[in-house]
Amino acid sequence: MAENNSRKNIFERMFAIDRRWVYGFLMLAVVLSVIAKPIIPIPISREARSIYDFMNSLNSGDYIHLAMDYDPSTLAELHPMTRAVLKQCFEKKIKVIITALHQNGPGMAAAAIDTACQRHFELTGYRPESGKDWVFLGYKPYPILIILGMGQNYRIPFPNDYYNVPLDSLPMMNGIRNYQNVKAVINISATSATDWWITYGNGRYQVPLAIGVTGVMATDYYPYLQTGQIFGILGGLQGAAEYETLVGTPGKAVEGMSVQVVGHSIIIIFIIIGNIGYFATRKKSKLGL
């Protein structure tokens, strides 16, 4: 009887573990993993490779539009994608038109571009210049109208760039009118802006579109990959790690994916413990014990 009570208590406790234990173990595991820096191999998915191959097929002097539609709350997943894409663009001398259609994003985007330029300078001795190698248009509200406006002429929503320099005075924007002059839009986003790029960018103007989105959003956009409305997708930190691997500079995302394995293992263990507790207590309650 005493043994039964003791077992019942254990299962009940397993079923109702204080959430703080879960947080505590997870935190400890993540901290130790970040310190230990284990490295795991990153398999490359077809949807990430298709973006890389497309970018690699572009010639020096070609244009792409990089839409950074996120804010600091999601930079953990999306910044590594942006950095990897910018690195590839600068290395291949692809000219980049950049927008940030999230109201809390333009300052962060400007800092990210600056960091990418600085890293390129440290690697090659050349610092990509605003107006020559890249243009940052900044933010304007109502993304749908902005996406439609840029489809007619970049100068309609953005007569000046983020630094208040008229677009017509920037050498890079000479002869560049709208999406017909860019090879693709790469949308890195944590918002509904991705839907709007699909509907109003690709749907209205047929501009080729690839997306990098947060993990929470990733599964929602796979149907668009199947229909060809987007030609590639980077999903969450995994997608970022894949792209970092593809461009040959494993960084925070690759390091983060190794930690993910540990974090997921902890969560799986707690899910198993909780389920054992649940089924054991349910069986006993069915038996009326």
Partner: protein, 213 residues
């Protein structure tokens, strides 16, 4: 690391720890950090909108003699009548104008990209099964997708009781939906842990070494 960066990193680290303290229980440190985020975000947003909208789209246009910009300006100002109960009816006019434009722009494109393209994509890949060059796994995926779509649609068909054959098909639909939710949940867990990892990377790799040399 220069002194300014060390200070800003320390502020960021302390605020991160304030937010993490909620994992134990609600407390004044968490509340302070939470309110700071809300206040700073709202302030940043207001200044961004002022610089990016009010100055270039209203002030600069009107001072350049483009008087017709006074029309959207008035429509915008009328939206504010909502805060006075007596005059709130006036705000319906600019709202109606806005809704009319957005609906006109959105409906055809939303229909095209979210419904017709999806149906076309599904049917097209199913039709490609007749093509002998379609590889086995692509064909298998197509069959799974089509079965998943049809059974999920049957699950949401409530005009017939889910019994017998309909019930069995609907059950497959439930399984399809559950697999979809499972994939979403997996990605969501990864996303949340990613946020934690980034903060820990910041604390361990950037802040602490900068603080202690």
């Amino acid at each position: 690391m220069d002194f300014g960066t060390a200070i800003s990193n320390t502020v960021a680290a302390l605020l991160t720890l304030c937010i993490f303290s909620f994992l134990y229980k609600d407390n004044p440190f968490y509340k302070f950090a939470e309110h700071l985020v809300v206040g700073v975000s709202a302030g940043y947003w207001v200044s961004i909108l002022y610089i990016n909208v009010v100055i270039p789209n209203i002030w600069q246009k009107l001072t350049a003699g483009k008087w017709w910009y006074v029309i959207p300006t008035i429509l915008g100002v009328l939206m504010w009548t909502r805060i006075v109960k007596r005059w709130s009816w006036i705000s319906r006019y600019p709202l109606a104008f806005y809704l009319g434009i957005v609906t006109g722009v959105a409906i055809p494109l939303e229909m095209q990209t979210k419904v017709l393209e999806q149906i076309f994509g599904t049917v097209q890949s199913f039709a490609a099964l007749h093509n002998s060059s379609t590889d086995f796994w692509a064909g298998f995926n197509t069959v799974v997708v089509v079965i998943g779509i049809i059974t999920s649609l049957v699950y949401f068909f409530f005009s017939k009781e889910h019994k017998g054959a309909t019930g069995s098909v609907a059950k497959v639909g439930i399984w399809t939906l559950m697999i979809g939710f499972g994939a979403s949940f997996g990605y969501t867990v990864m996303a949340r842990i990613s946020l934690l990892i980034e903060r820990i990377q910041f604390l361990v790799n950037d802040w602490l070494p900068g603080l202690f040399g």
